[in-house]
Symmetry: C2
Subunit: 341 residues, 2 copies
DNA sequence: CTGAAAGCGCTAACAT
DNA sequence: ATGTTAGCGCTTTCAG
């Protein structure tokens, strides 16, 4: 079938050992032997059998990357950066989609009946709690992604959600808005992100001496455009509707913006909107979306490097990395002179 | 280290063969033996070593999925569907990102010095021509995705681009528009998609008795929002600007829409816009985007099934599948009463 | 510097 | 129905 080391060895008149040495390049080989072997390698078109190598070495050279949904722009953008960073480190990425379902996350971690194909996992979890994840993972190195509180047994990279949410809310306060709503509340057990961002929001209101009006805290089932659209409609139907809204991610914000505009609301005059994630759509929407910009490149890079460290038996205790973020002020909160773009 | 078949065999007092049979479930095993083995399996927490199994079987159980960019919404949405379809067929997906670079596509196909990890590949190619791909692939089963002319040596799934582009253009004609521009022209060697969609566009104009005005055919470097924005600015600066534009994908259209609105143009009154791909953003933009809707679920499903057929040594000659498409008419071409949405 | 050979964990042919 | 064992292709220990 395909060309093996043995075939090459026979052709070059050397042992398998020598061919292996030439291919791997780790051991010194006599120049003339080397060139002879290389000629045979070339002639026969040898390609290493990755599986055999892996079996011998006990590793697959693969890392898993698990997101709830690949077509959520924030995840897609992060996936892109992670795949690129992985390639630069010689790692290949197996992609997994949990659909936010506990059974799928569980199967990923414990390998299940089908076994585990990757050496380590970068996981953006929705359904499972940190303790459960740590238990299930066993020896499998894990880097948790995304927005959750630190955990003593799991590596984690994300940003400071409370601080970021506070910055977003303070921006709305600084514009003189006083009825500032929030969209994206969820039960804390279900979604830690929501909990942290809600805290930043409420803290900022408190600091500004504004009350936290529960009727302005909109719960949503999920974080898609449609959820944002539904939430804003409910808010706009209130006796005294909000004059600003902080959405816990950009998709919610874009959905809310669309629905508000369709409702005849002017943005930002009647309603200022801030999002979170800086997905590309928000830079091209009309109006463009003010949002929290996490440094995705940095998140990706650090996640891959953390995992790499674990893979080389780094015994250090769980590490936490908080990436940079900033607020990008755009047209959904501050009216601009008409410009090209 | 980890628990092997041998460990389980020892514990249960049977041979590895028997344990293997229990695990795989392909051979009949006496009920009491089975339960004894299962107890040991459970007790020791056996997990199959996927690599060893693969080595023995000569397959990895992995398929490759290669896109130029994962964060382009059309690719992200397709990736989601393909990953899901793959899981349903017991396949795991290795994701590759070519960045549209020839060297990366080439490395994917010939395995390069690092060998190939997957059994087959679903490839959305940008840089390489079909002949080259077929040559490089050798025995590696390939399913080509996307928008290119059929090829006698490669399986392919996509939609009829000429027909779809024609439908899009005819829609604009039917609205009484007469200066219909197109955005997304590229050199045919660089991008077959562009070529096919341009043909559909020009055919439709010809059928309607409209001239193909070369000044209305806008070339772009790529297919991102920014390219669409730049192109529409050039078109709007013409002595007699277009009253409609067909963009060769939705990102171009969304970029063009944004720039046109910023330019003070009313959509659809002054300028009607049609896109291509039906990405989610276009369903929530303001105005919402009229577009060609390819059946992505079907594309994903057929692609995976075609590959699966090849993997089981299906010797049939190259197959072509054209998935359904339809035109979704939205606000960027037809003004609607204000609605909740 | 290079050859011989063990063995990674599993499946499947062969034997009973 | 189950035990024994060769061998998938590679890396690496042990000799030389």
């Amino acid at each position: 079938m395909s060309v093996t080391l043995r075939d090459v060895a026979l052709d070059a008149g050397v042992s398998v050992r020598t061919v292996s040495n030439v291919v791997s390049g780790t051991v010194r080989v006599a120049p003339d032997t080397r060139s002879r072997v290389e000629a045979s390698l070339q002639k026969l078109g040898y390609r290493p059998n990755v599986i055999a190598r892996n079996l011998r070495q006990g590793r697959t050279g693969l890392i898993g990357l698990a997101f709830p949904e690949l077509d959520v722009p924030y995840f897609a953008e992060l996936a892109r950066a992670i795949v690129r960073a992985s390639r630069e480190h010689g790692l290949t990425v197996v992609i997994e989609q949990t659909e936010g379902r506990e059974e799928h996350e569980r199967a990923l971690l414990d390998g299940g009946a089908r076994g585990t194909v990757f050496d380590g996992l970068i996981l953006s979890s929705l359904a499972l709690g940190a303790d459960e994840i740590a238990d299930l993972a066993g020896n499998l190195p894990i880097v948790m992604l995304g927005e959750r509180a630190p955990h003593h047994r799991l590596d984690h990279v994300g940003i400071d959600n409370v601080a970021a949410a506070r910055v977003a809310t303070e921006h709305l306060v600084s514009l003189g808005r006083s009825r500032i709503a929030a969209i994206g509340y969820q039960h804390p057990k279900v979604n830690e992100t929501a909990h942290l961002r809600a805290r930043g929001y409420e803290d900022a209101l408190a600091d500004a001496g504004l009350p936290v009006d529960r009727s302005l805290c909109a719960y949503t089932d999920a974080y898609h455009r449609e959820d944002g659209a539904q939430a804003i409609r409910r808010l706009l139907d209130l006796p005294s509707p909000p004059d600003a809204v902080f959405c816990f991610n950009d998709l919610l914000a874009l959905g809310a913006m669309r629905a508000a505009l369709a409702h005849g609301v002017r943005i930002p005059q009647d309603l200022a909107i801030v999002g979170f994630d800086d997905i590309e759509d928000g830079r091209y929407s009309t109006p463009t979306l003010t949002t929290i910009v996490p440094d995705k490149e940095q998140i990706a890079l650090v996640a891959v490097e953390m995992l790499l460290a674990r893979l080389s038996d780094d015994p250090s205790k769980a590490r936490e990395h908080l990436a940079r973020f900033e607020l990008a002020v755009r047209e959904s909160t501050v009216r601009r002179r008409r410009r090209r773009g």
